[in-house]
Symmetry: C2
Subunit: 200 residues, 2 copies
């Protein structure tokens, strides 16, 4: 049984300020560095052989803490960079919700039917996530940690379970929430989603 | 925001023996009683107003521990009784897997396309779960705990997210694993799946 631990990045400065991030880049907050350390400790007894991260700073810094604790090399993969949310990036998320409620609700309900203006096309997003999943299926390592973003990790959950990206925002992941995908050579199972015990 | 805490029943005697349970009935094990107590404590600060359980003994006993700790009445609902797995109930689960591997794998991969012989028809199962979900949406209480089974709670997750029952076994819940569905009046979000922090 192959185990793929999906780790959403720790709290970033833009998370703290409520800024809609996407392709933008910000560093971890002091709390974020503590969260990263705690999730690294959680992964310590999981016999992780490989850690793959998105190149963006909030994910990279989280993953670097993990590889430091586990004594592993860090691998960067462009395919799990966050989805581009287009022209809305940089806006305050809660302002956006109050000012563009209908657009934002429609997008959360079904981002395939109601994409945001100038966002990354969903077919391209799907293509890069499926290609990444395919490589995970066929690689030799059995226990792998993937550090990424809400969009890309939700995408991995939806597409590995054979669901469409319509449901991309029907799952939720907090900062350093861990989700476990198991692959038995036949199909994927979601063993848990958004585990946060390490922050207790 | 309405919060629906889905709690899979604690360990039963048939769980311990690896017996494929479905409509069969068995009591909790000593470990099961401890797990029930621990999940009850976890729910204590969640301002739960209503606890609903399947009538089957393993769920009912788990729920009774929860209502004892929370000081609430216990409500029984026939619609969240476990799916009937038909003639295979009572067989050892792992024997079944080694003897009927292809049938069992096909079923786990897609129980709509590959139902078990004489199992409850999937349309009837879907109908009772959807009817139960509809009542939850429209009731006055905001924080509700539902104690049920793998089949019925997975069904609630799949159907509330708008997924088909093809994916019924693509999610996983351990004994007393807690999953949180949030309902904002518009749609459901799965905030976490199979949380087990209370057992640490």
């Amino acid at each position: 049984m192959k185990k793929i631990y999906l780790v959403r990045h720790a709290q970033s400065e833009f998370n703290e300020k409520g800024i809609f991030q996407g392709r933008l880049d910000s560093d971890l907050t002091p709390l974020g560095f503590v969260q990263a350390r705690m999730v690294a400790k959680f992964l310590q007894d999981k016999e992780i052989e490989r850690v793959i991260t998105s190149p963006q700073r909030r994910a990279y810094k989280t993953a670097l803490t993990i590889t430091d604790v586990l004594g592993l090399e860090l691998e960067v993969d462009e395919r799990i960079r966050e989805m581009s949310f287009g022209v809305l990036e940089g806006r305050n998320f809660w302002d956006l919700f109050s000012q563009e409620r209908e657009m934002m609700m429609g997008w959360l309900k079904d981002p395939v039917k109601n994409p945001l203006p100038t966002q990354e096309p969903m077919e391209e997003f799907e293509k890069r996530i499926l290609s990444f999943l395919e490589d995970l299926k066929t690689c030799d390592e059995k226990n792998i940690a993937v550090v990424g973003h809400g969009g890309t990790l939700h995408g991995m959950v939806c597409l590995s379970l054979g669901l469409g990206l319509e449901n991309l925002w029907s799952v939720h992941m907090d900062n350093t929430g861990v989700s476990l995908l198991e692959y038995d050579g036949n199909g994927f199972t979601l063993a848990y989603l958004n585990k946060l015990c390490h922050l207790l």
